[in-house]
Every structure is written in structure tokens, then in C-alpha cells.
Amino acid sequence: MFRELLGGLRTTMREMVSPPITIQYPEEQRPVPPRHRGRHILHRYDNGLEKCIGCELCAGACPVGCIYVQAAENDPEHPVSPGERYAIRYEINLMRCIYCGYCAEACPTEAITLGPRLDLVDYKREHLVATKDDLLEAWPGFQPLPVAVAPGLGQAASQPSPRGAGSSHAGPAGSAPGLRPPIPGGRGGAE
């Protein structure tokens, strides 16, 4: 009997002296897979122009209809996107989105991709409707918060800078003001 009891005690003692395996989540984060489908990112070209041309193909491809796009004509003097039109409003209902990535596949200009960000919680439903401000890759001098992406194959050529747009905010909570009036064109993304 004593041998078994001591064996049990030895096992627990061995576990006690070995380091914990817990990942201290908000401080420490696991790298997400390179093709992780998290919160969407609206990309820009290197010159700062938005890739989105407001064609609404993403909204059409979306199986749950969580994307709302309102297009507007570009001002030739101050174009927002290289095409004729751009998205004056671009909203995604993150509560309804199933993160299938069809929007990214449908996009002719690779303007929208799904990013690595997965901390999609908030206290208010309104905050979970991501607006263009939240989704757009910031520009210029954009410093993304470090989210490690695990090295691996299959990284799309247009894979964004890791954390994506809106990350100049402290976090999703309180940063996304929800449904906003239409944003005037030509606005630099970084706040």
C-alpha cells in the first residue's frame, strides 16, 4: 500500500516542480496560423490608395449577408482608390460573419482578407459591427501591434501587416464606435 501511495505523491511532486504550461493569455499570445481567418482587413496599395473599389462582390459572395458596402464616385483630384469608385461605407457585422473567407475570394483587387486577429469580444453589440475605420489598414506610419504569426507555407502574397487595421486603438472594446455616418472620402486611415 505504501509503495502505491508514495508513487502517487512522487508523481504530483514531479509535476509540481515542472514549469506550468499555461499561456498567460492577454500578455502572452500563441502565434496564430498563417492562414487564420480572423477579423477582416481592408488593404491599401503602397502609395496609400485603398484597394477596395466598391464593387460589392464581397457582399454578394457573403453567404450570411453580413457585409454592407456603399460605393461612391472618386474625386479625380483626391482619389481614395485607383478605380472609378470607392467604398464610402464598408461595414461587416462580426456577430453574423462566419469567417468563411468567401469575401476575400470574391474580391477582384484583393482588397479584403481575413486577418489573424481573434479577440472579437465586446460588451456592446453595436461595437461588433466593424466599420471602415476598424477594418482599414492604417496609413501612413502604421505600427501594428505585435501578433505573432506562425511561420508556414501558404501565406498569401497580399497577407497584411499582422494585426490589421484599427489596431492603433487599445483594443476592440470601446475602440469601434459602431454605426457611423458616412465617412467623407480621402480620409487617411490612421487616427
Binding site: 502517487g8 505523491l9 504530483t12
Partner: protein, 352 residues
């Protein structure tokens, strides 16, 4: 003021100071034992444990206290209100009382000449400062009596709640405590025979050459096993058995009323570990002869902490015993072993 009145006043002041000190120390010990327990369990399960409140979670007990005090006190209908409120208070009081006779250090003689020999507790002409609240000649008997009082709190709590799980937990608990108390008492009689006294300080001083744990290894094991049962710790935590009885006798208690039961359990842990230290592990004696003996309280606390750690370690290692096996183990293993140990010790003492 007459000399008699002065000495009475002095005794009262000293007793009050000691009592307050004991309560403060035990409460703090309780608070940090809960943290230690959670930390130990976490490390055994490869977790970190509480580390959000203060550095390394050091303020967690305070947060827990605030939570307990501000929680709604839900009480069942049809309860016996007086007993319902009495039970947790009794539990906490019994736990605190038992500590009052435990000597933490050797009696220090202030003023007069120390009695003959370094081990003497007598102090003619001076003021003997005892390191326990009540310097009783029957200290061990007092402890056994007071710890049995804890059964009442558990049973009253279970009965007064007017609910089935507490009642079942209380029934189990009283049966368990009564049967394991026998074994514990027999285990403690061995050292008493060897020391020839029930006074805890004498028991410690009798261990100056060899701790009783080496003369009474069986007694120590029996006592420790029984102590686990007495404090309702795993693997003998049948009274509270979360999985079967929800929480046993304190199911219907919430807020600080539950907190008092919880406190009683942890202070009881401290008490039984202190008794084990005093009776078997040489109390305040230095663990090795080359270490200074004047660090008495440090050695004492160190030994108690070690035993407490073992209790936690055991708790997070072994599963709960089935109830019939628990009773079988108590009556058919521990008690006969205790009796055999007692007889052997008696023979040894008689032939010495």
C-alpha cells in the same frame, strides 16, 4: 495596588495580548493558506494559480475576503435560525481555542533565576513568559476535548440547514470524526507515555535528545492520517465531498457564514500540524544539533509549514475514499494499529 492585584492585572494583560496575537496570526495564516493551497494545487496541475490580484496574487486573500463579506447571505427556509447562526461561529471558535495551549517556544524567565537545567520550565522569583495562551498541565487533553467540539459545529450546521445534503454530510462527518478521533487519541497517548506528562511544553522538552517521531514512527503516521480525517481533508473529505454532497454540511451557507466554516477548516489544519510538531517533531527544537535553539519560533513555524505543505500535497494527489472503506480503515486498520502501538510503547516504558 497590592502585589496580588498587580500580578492578576499582569496576567490579564499578558493573556489578552497573547490572545489577540494568536487570533491575528491565525487569521493571516488562514488567508494565506487558502492562497497557498490554490498555488500548490495549481502547480500540481501545471497551472499558475491566482496571479492577477497583486504581485503573484498576494492580495488574492483580501479580494476573497471582500467577496465573502459582500455576498448575499442566502439562508434556507425552515431552518433553525439560532443553531444555523451558531454553527459557523462555533466552528471558528473551536478551531481558535485549540491553539491556545500550543507552546511555540520554551518558557522564558524574565527577572528571576531560571530553574535547574536548560529544559526546566520553572522560574523562581521571576516572571515566566509562557509562549502559549493557557499554560495547562493537561494541554493535550484540552486539545482533544476542544477539537471534538468541532463535530458539534458541523453537525449543527448540517441539521439546522433543514436540507438533505447538509444533513447527509453532517451524519457522515460525525461518524467519521468520532471514529477517527479514537485513532488520533491512541496515537497521541504513545508520546504522552514516553514524556510522562500531558503538558505540551514538557512533551517538547522531553524530546531534546530524540524527537518522538523516531521513537513513534507508527504513532506519527497514525496521527497524521487521523488528522487529515479530523480536518475533513482529502482523501477523507467525505463530509464535504463536492461531487456527491454538493458541499456537505455547509451547502446552505453563503457569504462570511461559509467563510467561517472555511476558516475553521484551515485553522484546524494549522492546529493539527502544530500538535504534530509539538508532540512528534520536537516543537521549537532546532532540526539539527548545530543549529541554534534560540530561533525556537522559527523552527516551530518551519515544521508546521512543512506539515501543512504535506497536507496540501496529499490532498491534490489522492482521490476520496468510499464511505464504507473510510469507516473500515478507521476501525479495522487505524484503531488496531493505534492499540498495538500503545501496548508496545507501554511495555517499552515499563521496562525502561
Amino acid at each position: 495596588m497590592s502585589p496580588a492585584a498587580t500580578s492578576v492585572l499582569l496576567a490579564v494583560v499578558v493573556a489578552v495580548v497573547k490572545g489577540v496575537l494568536i487570533i491575528i496570526v491565525l487569521m493571516t495564516a488562514f488567508a494565506y493558506l487558502t492562497l497557498a493551497e490554490r498555488k500548490v494545487s495549481a502547480r500540481i496541475q501545471l497551472r499558475y494559480g491566482p496571479n492577477r490580484v497583486g504581485p503573484f496574487g498576494f492580495l488574492q486573500p483580501a479580494a476573497d475576503g471582500v467577496k465573502l463579506f459582500t455576498k448575499e447571505k442566502v439562508a434556507p427556509e425552515g431552518r433553525d435560525n439560532f443553531l444555523y447562526l451558531l454553527a459557523p461561529a462555533l466552528a471558528a471558535c473551536a478551531a481558535l481555542f485549540a491553539f491556545s495551549v500550543i507552546p511555540i517556544n520554551q518558557t522564558i524567565c524574565i527577572g528571576g533565576t531560571h530553574g535547574a537545567g536548560p529544559l526546566s520550565a520553572s522560574c523562581p522569583g521571576g516572571y515566566p513568559l509562557h509562549w502559549d495562551l493557557a499554560h495547562l498541565n493537561i494541554g493535550l487533553l484540552f486539545i482533544l476535548a476542544i477539537t471534538s467540539l468541532g463535530v458539534y459545529s458541523i453537525f449543527l450546521g448540517g441539521w439546522a440547514s433543514n436540507s438533505k445534503y447538509p444533513l447527509l454530510g453532517a451524519l457522515r462527518s460525525s461518524a467519521q470524526l468520532i471514529s477517527y478521533e479514537m485513532a488520533v487519541s491512541f496515537a497521541l497517548i504513545g508520546p504522552v507515555l514516553l514524556a510522562g506528562s500531558l503538558n505540551l511544553e514538557t512533551i517538547v522538552t522531553q524530546q531534546h535528545s530524540l524527537w518522538f517521531v523516531f521513537l513513534q514512527p507508527m504513532g506519527f503516521l497514525l496521527y497524521f492520517t487521523g488528522a487529515l480525517a479530523e480536518t475533513n481533508r482529502l482523501p477523507f473529505d467525505l463530509p464535504e465531498a463536492e461531487a456527491e454532497l454538493v458541499a456537505g454540511y455547509h451547502t446552505e451557507y453563503s457569504g462570511m457564514r461559509f467563510g467561517l466554516f472555511f476558516m475553521a477548516e484551515y485553522i484546524n489544519m494549522v492546529t493539527v500540524c502544530s500538535i504534530a510538531t509539538v508532540v512528534f517533531l520536537g516543537g521549537w527544537m532546532a532540526p539539527f544539533f548545530f543549529l541554534p535553539n534560540w530561533l525556537g519560533p522559527i523552527w516551530f513555524v518551519g515544521k508546521v509549514v512543512l506539515l501543512l505543505f504535506v497536507m496540501m500535497w496529499v490532498r491534490w494527489t489522492f482521490p476520496r475514499l468510499r464511505y464504507d472503506r473510510l469507516m473500515q480503515f478507521g476501525w479495522k486498520v487505524l484503531l488496531p494499529l493505534g492499540l498495538a502501538n500503545l501496548m508496545l510503547t507501554s511495555v517499552f516504558v515499563a521496562l525502561r
